[in-house]
């Protein structure tokens, strides 16, 4: 295992869960940011609409403060949007389709260049 693999692979279950939780949070906030742009609502206005400070909103978007469901609900209301939740069974330890294909073929590093 290379040093990078060691750095990028969660060292235990707790870290796996932390990373997954963090990603879920960013996914919610990604949608919020998209609709902020669509509706022309900047950080300051969003903060005012959900009755918090702009710095708190910044902390959320930077992932420095956990996002709770009450705040999500407030953001949903402020932006007049609705989160639609869906789930799908996770595929465990399955490498991406194109990697499956290329790994077999490789005897030396493959080179891809820009189109």
């Amino acid at each position: 295992m290379s040093d990078w693999d060691e750095l990028l692979n969660p060292k235990d279950e707790n870290e796996q869960i932390r990373q997954a939780a963090q990603l879920l949070m960013y996914m919610f906030l990604g949608e919020v940011e998209k609709y902020q742009e669509i509706n022309g609502i900047n950080k300051k206005t969003l903060a005012a609409k959900i009755k918090t400070s702009p710095s708190y909103v910044t902390q959320l978007f930077r992932g420095d403060t956990p996002l709770n469901f009450e705040t999500i609900a407030k953001m949903q209301r402020a932006l007049k949007i609705k989160f639609i939740i869906s789930a799908t069974p996770a595929v465990k330890n399955s490498p991406p389709a194109d990697q499956k294909a290329t790994k077999k073929k490789l005897t030396k590093p493959a080179l891809h260049t820009a189109d």
């Binding site: 290379s2 040093d3 990078w4 693999d5 060691e6 750095l7 990028l8 969660p10 870290e15 932390r18 990373q19 963090q22 990603l23 960013y26 996914m27 906030l29 990604g30 940011e33 998209k34 910044t58 978007f61 930077r62 992932g63 420095d64 595929v91 399955s94 991406p96 389709a97 194109d98 990697q99 290329t102 790994k103 490789l106 590093p109 493959a110 080179l111 891809h112 260049t113 820009a114 189109d115």
Partner: protein, 139 residues
């Protein structure tokens, strides 16, 4: 002339890859690996990029003109260390997106893009990458 980059992590559908510039890999690795909070934050940003999630507070364009529109930045610890890792986005075969982490700026000191950062962005905008899928990566 092409530079080389190694794939660090790929999306489940194989359409997005976060890569590291082969020349700067060691320096970037040492910097991130020196501190647990850096490791956590870097992992979080990589997850965000690979998943295609949008969050301009931690990853986004750092373009200064038309020529540099494919230059982006991973932003970490804006209130303290204010670290930037400048990246180059490159489309590969079948539209696959490769995001190559190229250069580290350990402390961005101004709100605006400094002269040093501008030079870095201009330089990176001219880079073209050969993406290497290999198990041997330089840590």
């Amino acid at each position: 002339m092409f530079r080389q980059a190694f794939i660090l992590r790929s999306s489940e559908d194989g359409r997005r890859h976060v890569c590291i510039d082969a020349v700067n890999a060691k320096r970037i690795f040492r910097f991130i690996n020196a501190d647990e909070t850096r490791k956590r934050k870097f992992n979080d940003v990589v997850n965000v990029i690979v998943s295609g999630t949008r969050d301009s507070h931690i990853y986004g364009p750092e373009s200064i003109n038309k020529q540099t529109k494919k230059v982006t930045a991973i932003k970490m610890f804006q209130t303290g260390q204010n670290v930037r890792i400048y990246c180059k986005e490159q489309r590969g075969l079948n539209g696959t997106l490769y995001i190559v982490a190229v250069e580290l700026l350990e402390k961005k000191t101004t709100r605006k893009i400094s002269g040093r950062a501008k030079n870095m962005i201009l330089k990176i905008s001219r880079y073209e990458y050969q993406i290497i899928e290999s198990d041997v990566r330089l840590g």
